[in-house]
Amino acid sequence: MQLKKEHKVIIVSCIFISLFFIFYFSLGKSNQHNPTVMIGKKLPIISGNSLENDKKINLNSKLKNELFLINIFASWCAPCKEEHKYLMDLKSFKIKIVGINYKDSEQNAKQFLRKLNDPYFEVIKDYSGKLSIELGAYGVPETYVIDKNHNIISKHIGPINEKFVKEIRELKK
């Protein structure tokens, strides 16, 4: 079957126009990939040394039957300072937050918490970055929401905000 010349022009033009729109709208999309594979999975074993007294902590056995958050932070991370007031808000609503202190120094982390107040129920040191890999994280700050059955129900990349605080308060009800 031979296509007429006009038909060929129409088909080729349609292909090009569709490609143009696909590429044009893709330009506006964020190129940051947000891995979601860990969402819905059981919380891996999170254990490490406490920032407070260097004692070994196993988070999985310490927190049971309640919703809590895991927040990866560091004293050198500027967006962590930005989200700190929201973490304090969450603490005031009796939501437990476990801090994972990522690639930091003990002295700086303690100073950071003294200066800005401590929103954490417990802080675990992760100076090798292994705990963060275990959680599927790739930067700071990142916040994970863990339900009472220890399932990861969501994760937030970057500094948390008022909307996030509201969502967590709703979940806690």
Binding site: P35, G129, K130
Partner: protein, 122 residues
């Protein structure tokens, strides 16, 4: 003197073996991390990047290889934590089938056009 020579030889062999093992691990670490995408970089592999994320992954891979973990185990651990996106060479799945088929479809399409052109000219 003989004992001294023997001890020296054993020590020499032990050091040599360790260096060789380290070289092997470094080579394998490079090979694996070249196929892992740095998720915080623009199109760089973990091997090429010096970001915190890439350094953590390199350290993890090196330590796992030292413990004797297989390449397959390391890749599947990475995929379980970050998804197929972390691999530069993703496996064939229903999500990536289109990606794998496109080049063949283009070749087929091009071949049909050339075939028709040649046939018409004849």
């Amino acid at each position: 003197m003989k004992i001294f020579k023997l001890v020296f030889l054993i020590l020499f062999l032990m050091i040599g073996q360790k260096t060789f093992a380290n070289e092997e691990i470094e080579k394998k670490t490079a090979q694996i991390t070249k196929n892992l995408r740095c998720l915080v970089c623009q199109g760089q592999s973990v091997y090429d990047s010096s970001s915190d994320f890439a350094e953590d992954i390199k350290l993890y891979v090196r330590e796992e290889l030292t413990k004797g973990a297989s390449e397959k185990k390391i890749y599947s651990y990475m995929v379980s934590k970050y998804g197929d996106w972390i691999l530069f060479n993703p496996p064939l799945s229903y999500k990536s089938i289109f990606l794998w088929l496109i080049p063949f479809l283009f070749i087929l399409f091009g071949a049909i056009i050339i075939y028709r052109k040649v046939k018409i000219e004849k």
